[in-house]
Structure formats: C-alpha cells, structure tokens
Amino acid sequence: MKIIGAIAALPLALCGLGMAHAETIKVGVVLPYSGPNSDLGDQIDKAYDLYVKLHAKDLGDHKIELIKRDEGPASGANARTVVTELITNDKVKLLAGFVFSPSAIAAAPLATQAKMPMLISNAGTAWITNLSPYIVRFSFSMWDPAYQMGTYAATKFGCKTAAGGFTDFPPGQVSMLAFKTAFEKAGGKVVDEVRMGSPGPVPDFTPFFQRVKDEHPDCFYVFVPSGSHAGGVMKTYGDLGMRQAGIRLIGPMDLIPDYQLAHMSDAAIGLVVVSSYSDDYDTPINNEFVEAWHAAYGPDSYPDFESAAGMDTMAAIFHVINTLHGNLDDGAKVVDTLKGWKHDGPRGPITIDPETRDVIQDEHVEEVIKKPDGKLGVKVLETFPQVKDECKVLKVGRCGS
C-alpha cells in the first residue's frame, strides 16, 4: 500500500519540483466500426492511428489516448448514446470523428451542453457547423464540391440540362440543392431530382438510372455516400450504356473514394468529380503520407479524402495540446485555438474559418483516367483555390441561421 501510494504521489512530487506537466489527453473517437458502412470509419480510424504513430514524439511529455466508440448506422441512432458515455463515463476532453451527418446532428446539442469541442472528420451537411459553437469541421461542406461542380458543368462542359440523383438523407439533399443553385445560376436547367433510397444497404440503382437515361439530360449529377454505394453507381452507369447515350456522369468526390477506384471497371474513365483530395496528388507532403500509409497498412490499402481529413483533424488536436500545454479543460479555449488555424496537410493548405469554424481548402475538378501502369487514377482539370462554404456565404436555408 505504501509503495503504491509512493508511486501515485510521484507525478505530483515531480510537478511540485517544477518538472514538465505531463498529461494524458483522452480523445473520444466516434466512427462507424460495424455495419454496412464501417469501411468509411476504417479510413478515418487508420488515419488517426497513423498520425499518432508518426507524430507521438511531437507531444513531448504529454500523451494522447484514443477512446474509440461505434458510431453505428448511418441513421445516427447510436451517436447520442456513445457521445454521452464518452463525456460522462470516460471523461474525454475532445470528440473527433463523425462520418454520418445524422450522427453529428444528433450529437451537436450534447457538445453545446457539455462545452465539449467536437471535431468533425467527415459529416458534410452544410449547416452542421451552425448547430453548436463547439463544432469545428476539418472535412468539407457538401456545398464545396457540389457548388463548384454546378458552375463547372454549365460553363465548361456546356451542359444545358442536368438530372440529379441523390441518396435521400441530409447530405444528399444539401448536395443536390448546392449543385442546382450553382447550375441554374450559370444558366442551366435541372430537369429531374431523383431520390435514390436510404444510406443503408446499396440499392439496385437501375430503375433510378433508367429513368434518367430516358430523360436524356446532358449531365447527370449523382450523390451517394462514399464507399459501397459508389461501386454500384459506376456499374449501373456502365451497364446501361449511359455514356454512349451522351449523358455525362458528374458528382462530388464520394463517387470515387481512392480505395474504391482501384476496384472500379473502365466504365469510370471519363467521370468528372470535384474533390479536395486524391492520393495521386504529387506534393511532397502527400507523397510522404501515401508512402507511410502503404508502409503501415499494405500496398492494397489506399488513403482517400476521408483519411486526408482524418490526418488534418489529428494534426489539429496535436496543435491544441501543444498550444494549451496539455490543459484542455476549457472547451471554448480549445475552439478559439482552432479558429484561424492554418495547416499544410495531404490535401494542401487548409484554414479553419474563424467565423464559421468550417474548413477552407482548395477544390479540384478531376477526371478519371487510366494511368500508365494500367490502374485508374485522376487528372486535375482545374483548381478552385481556398473555397469557402458557399451555403453560409449565400445564407441558404438553415445555413443562414
């Protein structure tokens, strides 16, 4: 007993002597670890672990402990429970993760109530950052790619008409609205908006796509949750011969997550998306990142835009820990530290907008090509530098509140 007491008293004694104040910072990680969309959680989980592994020494005497909990299904039904547990039982100092918008929406009031910083690594529904002053987003707003795509399709592709197909939940609705807003502003006309079922199991996309094919739009804008849905979209597009019918498939980056692109058939060649990341980007930081990823997870595992956002999220957490010397008790202070934070990550330069707490980053128009080694990759056609969430700039719907 005496010995244990002595050991327990040791850190206190060291503090008293004016040594470095070493803290173990608990971070609650909320990602889908089970169910049909657990691949999305996996991409971010691997990024968090990789960053911690590569940069653990940057924290000096402090240590970081990731407490991982299952976000559960895309409906967000599990999120409140696990976030409550993390805050009250595990006493975490930060929350990070959130793949699905419904989860982030459900957890937002808890973040406000507990003054708990909530760092989002994916969930892209535009107005989520308005739901709590403790939310900081590192991934994107669905408006970022969709709005740019709308403008680009109408002006550069010369599409006069477009049809949209989207998975019927908040990010899908937001993505469709953003595309439509920009496309019609640039003189195009959206002829149909097809709701394509829930984000759970992958539906048979054929009826939806056949309907669009029969309408003969110039462009077909598709939003589906990244992951298993994307493969289905590409197959159906190829099988129905929509390209041969003169219908151009466009969308946000969720259509070609890098780890899926490797398995897609040649039907994907020529597809154009707007994205903030591809593992093909030839920058020193990204090359180093991709190399470290393959070294850690094998040559068949590829990082994607989610992983890139995951790396930046963890970099932000490290920044906060070092800036505040390990004392993260004041949630508001943590968020203030992140406002205006600038960072060079795998995606390139990003900034956290001090007003909206949303990320500002470059968006790239990318075309899927066959690389010289026979694999599918992307070629950047155009870059929109430092894109802000247009939804909050224009104050559309809930983005204005």
Partner: protein, 290 residues
C-alpha cells in the same frame, strides 16, 4: 419505340432481373421453412459466404467466373450440411424465439468472421467481357449481365420445376410439406429430406450471393441487410412453395422497380405497400395454406 412502351419494357426487364435474384436466394429459405418450420435468419449468411467464395476463386485462384459460381453452390451446399446436422437439427420443435435467436446469432457471427478475414471494405468483381456491356435485341439494348441473370433464373426455375414435380424426391418433399406426420408414417425419412433441401437451398443462396456482387457489391453485412427482402418474398409467396416464391419474387421485384422508376420520391416504399396489401388479402401468402 414510343416512350411509353420503352418505359414499360425497361420496368419489366429490370424488374425481372431483380425478381430472379430474389427468387434464387429465397427459394431455399421458403422450402426449408415449409418443411420443418425452421426460421433460418442465417440464410443471408450463406449467400454472403457464396459471394466471398466466388470473389476469392475468381480474383485469387484464377477460376473462371461461371465455374466459380458452381464451386460456390457445391462448397456452401456441402458446408451447410455440417451446420444443419450439428446446430439446426437441435431446433426442430424448438420455440420460434429459440430458432430466431440461434440463427440471427449465427448470421452475426458470420459477419464478424468475414469482417476479420476480408475486412469491412466493399468488394467488387470483374465479370468476364462477354457478360459486361450491352446486348442489342431488336429496337433497344439491354445490360448483358441482367440478361444473363434472367437466363440463369429461368434455367433454375426449369430445373427446380423438374425436381419438384417430376422426381421421386420432389414428390416426397411436397408430401412432407403438406403433412409431415403422415409422410413420416408412410416411411419417408423427413430428416434426410430436410438435410438435402437445406443443402440445395443454401447452395442456391450462395449462387445468388455470387451473382449479386456485380449488382450490389459485397460486404460482410450482406448477411443481414438484404434479409428483409428474402423474408418478404417467403411471407408473400407462402412458405414451402416454389411457385409461391417465384410468384412473390416476380410481383415484388417488378413492383419495386416500377415504384422506384415512376415515383422515385416514395418508390422504395412500394415493395412494402404491395407486400402488406397481398398479406391483408391472403394472410398465408399467395400459395400458402390457411
């Protein structure tokens, strides 16, 4: 082709392909349920296992796609016998709750096992060139893979029809579904029959799982996410009947496709509305016994 005809052809064609997928997987579930009254919620797990076998065979062992489908049918069919003899045989006469708990438990264990070995990422398959692209038939073209799916489904209907209606074993199965005690009393070994139908049903599920990768992709959770469709087909068709399963698969498959095509906003609901309607009129299913 006038647009209206074109639309109808589209719906019928896609609906038929979807119906064949539902039929191939559900028919085994229906017959085993009718025969022994065992509710096998792990049926989707056999389909998932078949899918992964096809995937491994084509991608890693270099087996041709069609041959790998046959391998999946045989291997999963044989493996299912082990489960039937060791686990399911304990369930005959057990309460429905026990059956549901054990079989859904098996499904979750299967998901965890396959996630461990294959990871949670969705897998895609590269089908041979002669099955991809479009097939030009008369005035319009159809996706080749779906034509293939319909042909396979139709061939299976023929084989199963022959098996059920024209063979001795088929007659015994029908007799046992009609009245198990009477069948046993005239010397039919219903346990053996059940093992056989269970193996064939699981094998067909595996075949369906392999065929569906091209349409739906494959993740370990395949075992449960499409289960509700299979159960719906069995409920609407009436358990124990091959014709009932076929009729239900056709009605639900075509209505589902039509609903999604014509009323995309609410279309995903059509399949449930039709199922509820049919069960209100015929509570035991289209071919079920009251």
């Amino acid at each position: 082709m006038p647009p209206v005809v074109n639309t109808i052809v589209s719906i019928l064609f896609d609906g038929l392909a979807w119906a064949m997928f539902l039929f191939i997987i559900s028919v085994g579930l229906s017959v085993t349920m009718g025969l022994m009254g065992v509710v096998n919620l792990a049926h989707g797990a056999f389909a998932m296992a078949g899918g992964y076998l096809v995937l491994t065979a084509t991608a890693s062992w270099g087996v041709p796609f069609l041959a790998s489908l046959i391998i999946a049918f045989l291997v999963v069919g044989c493996a299912s016998v082990i489960f039937e003899r060791t686990l399911y045989s304990e369930l005959y006469g057990a309460s429905e709750l026990d059956q549901v708990l054990l079989t859904i438990g098996l499904a979750f264990m299967a998901i965890a096992t396959y996630t461990y070995f294959y990871g949670p990422l969705p897998k895609a398959i590269h089908v041979p060139a002669y099955l991809s692209g479009e097939l030009h038939l008369g005035a319009r073209s159809f996706p080749t893979y779906r034509v293939f799916l319909i042909v396979v489904g139709a061939a299976l209907v023929g084989v199963l029809w022959y098996g059920f209606e024209r063979t001795n074993i088929g007659a015994k199965i029908r007799a046992a579904v009609d009245n198990r005690r009477m069948a046993q009393s005239i010397g039919i070994n219903v346990d053996r029959l059940f093992t056989l139908t269970f193996a064939v049903g699981s094998g067909l599920a595996a075949l369906g799982g392999g065929l569906s990768i091209q349409l739906l992709g494959l993740t370990p959770s395949f075992a449960v996410i499409y289960l509700v469709f299979f159960l719906l087909v069995v409920a609407v068709g009436g358990s124990g009947s091959m014709w009932g399963t076929l009729a239900a698969a056709l009605v639900l498959g075509i209505c589902d496709t039509a609903g999604k095509y014509l009323f995309a906003d609410a279309g995903s609901f059509a399949i449930y509305a039709v199922a509820v309607l049919i069960l209100l009129i015929k509570p035991a299913g289209l071919y079920g016994r009251e």
